[in-house]
């Protein structure tokens, strides 16, 4: 174990985990990018700082998917560990650190749910809770104002979607259902599910594009 170090050679950070979405526009002064690069160079302190920045969001995400505190903690650790191991392959031209991290965390969380379901030999769709279950309650006082702001905007954008599109996004993103499973669960043709997924994401992108332009 390393002794405490005072010196943190990384850009100071004012927007923990809440920074504006900056898809594909990572630049050298992006603190997340600096951290991922330092991780790739083997600096474990960068992993600690990345963890500090993203833990609130990533834990919220994996907890929402797995629904169990113990599992969520393990999945969170697995996800960050995977990020550490794969930091060298992160390609900022393909997406933001946010997308990279949430993708890893979500996959690990869904894996955990699948393992649990397989263990119970229960693969029915009844595991998928009713849709439209986004909880709009705000975060506690610990939630940074900017994170709360971003969450509010994403929620608003989602709320603006037609219910069937929103449902498709929820079932796929948080429950990990495939388009075939969603089609069965909702009684819609496969092509309809596909179209809904695409339209929903395109609308989200448009609704949130103003955020991107505000990015520093």
């Amino acid at each position: 174990m390393h002794p405490e170090r005072q010196l943190l050679p990384y850009p100071s950070v004012s927007d923990p985990a809440s920074g504006r979405p900056r898809p594909g526009s990572a630049s050298a002064d992006d603190p997340d990018l600096a951290l991922v690069r330092a991780m790739a160079a083997g600096d474990e302190r960068a992993l600690g700082l990345l963890y500090d920045r993203w833990q609130p969001l990533l834990h919220s995400l994996v907890f929402h998917v797995v629904g169990d505190a113990g599992d969520a903690e393990e999945v969170l650790e697995d996800a960050l560990w995977q990020a550490w191991r794969q930091a060298g392959t992160y390609d900022e031209s393909r997406g933001s650190v946010r997308t990279w991290l949430t993708t890893i965390a979500r996959s690990r969380a869904l894996d955990r749910v699948r393992v649990r379901r397989a263990a119970r030999q229960d693969v029915s769709l009844e595991d998928a809770p009713a849709s439209a279950e986004f909880v709009l309650a705000g975060g506690g006082p610990a939630e940074a104002a900017e994170a709360a702001d971003l969450r509010a905007r994403v929620e608003q954008a989602l709320a603006g979607l037609p219910p069937d599109q929103r449902e498709t996004v929820e079932l796929a993103y948080f429950r990990g259902l495939s388009q075939t499973e969603i089609a069965e669960a909702t009684g819609q043709p496969l092509g309809t599910v596909k179209t809904r997924a695409r339209l929903a994401l395109q609308k989200l992108r448009t609704a949130l594009s103003s955020l991107r332009e505000e990015a520093p």
Binding site: H2, S60, E77, G95, T99, E155, L177, Q179, R198
Partner: protein, 308 residues
């Protein structure tokens, strides 16, 4: 079943792919197309960015402070160990100290890259000298020249900005490396100090068996650091380990368990506060692996504290 999908079919499926909702075969075909189609790739990347934002609507529930500290320290310990093993894979490892406490001097990190090539400088648009116009054209030309100058200055500034960014990234890397080296030096200095400081007492130990293992304990009474070296120790039997003891008038304090290396040598480091007058002896016994609260096995090495 490797029917290629048309561009339009792929495009239609990109939303489902961004949400991870495509089924196996279709997913493969979509990704195969995307690999060779810049437009679809850009679209997919953008849709994935949008999908990632959905994470934000999960109810806010950060890990509790006590738990998060645990997870964080586990991750950092794993990463530090991983860094050391990555370094040793690159053949720059020093011989590992045969001690239960990881080597006092961690092997140098091989993965700390030296100078990474700075991103190539964008060409700076040269400012061409504007020729003086004549008559009515003069004003227009002057304005055009100013405009050119402005554009050139903008290009130049953005070039500078990129250079500054590259230098900042480089400075960040170098600073991280400097901190790491400073830590290593500090660690080394602490070890040397605990062997050679004015307050260091040395306890000689002699063998209690025909084989002649030897041991020497360095006790830095100022920093409470203990450094123990042993040589010629016989290998421990399976399921057994050596245990090092600090013996005072009223108790025997375990300073750790260890196994000797292939040549019978061992180094143990420990930190333990003990009033300078209270140590009577240092001993090594053989115990069940993991150690015992009190010595139970045969004494392998023992040494009395000299009264000098």
């Amino acid at each position: 079943m490797t029917i290629e999908m048309t561009h339009d079919e792929v495009r239609e499926a990109l939303g489902a792919e961004a949400l991870g909702a495509l089924d196996g075969g279709e997913r493969e075909r979509v990704l195969a197309h995307v690999a060779g189609c810049d437009a679809c790739r850009a679209e997919l990347d953008a849709l994935r960015e949008a999908a990632a934002l959905v994470a934000h609507v999960a109810p806010h529930r950060p890990l509790a402070p006590a738990r998060t500290a645990d997870v964080r320290s586990r991750l950092l310990a794993r990463a530090a160990a991983d860094g050391v093993s990555r370094a040793s894979q690159d053949d720059v490892t020093i011989e590992a100290a045969p001690a239960p406490i990881p080597a006092a001097f961690p092997p140098p990190r091989a993965d700390a890259e030296p100078a990474r090539a700075a991103p190539s400088r964008p060409d700076v648009t040269p400012i061409t000298s504007a020729r003086r116009g004549r008559g009515a054209m003069a004003g227009w030309l002057a304005a055009a020249a100013s405009l050119l100058l402005l554009i050139a200055a903008g290009v130049y500034a953005s070039g500078l900005r990129r250079q500054v960014d590259a230098l900042q990234a480089r400075a960040t890397q170098l600073e991280a490396e400097r901190t790491r080296l400073a830590d290593r030096v500090q660690q080394g200095e602490a070890t040397v100090a605990s062997l050679s400081g004015p307050a260091v007492k040395v306890i000689e130990m002699a063998a209690a068996r025909p084989a002649d293992p030897t041991g020497r304990m360095f006790w830095d009474t100022r920093t409470a650091r203990w450094t123990f070296f042993a040589h010629n120790l016989p290998a421990t039997r399976p399921g057994r380990e050596y245990q090092l003891w600090l013996v005072t008038a009223d108790r025997k304090i375990s300073a750790g368990t260890f196994r000797p290396g292939p040549r019978g040598s061992a180094v143990v480091q420990a930190e333990y506060e003990l009033p300078p007058g209270s140590l009577q002896a240092v001993a090594v016994t053989e115990e069940p692996a993991g150690g015992q609260p009190q010595p139970t096995g045969a004494i392998v090495l023992a040494g009395a504290m000299s009264t000098r």
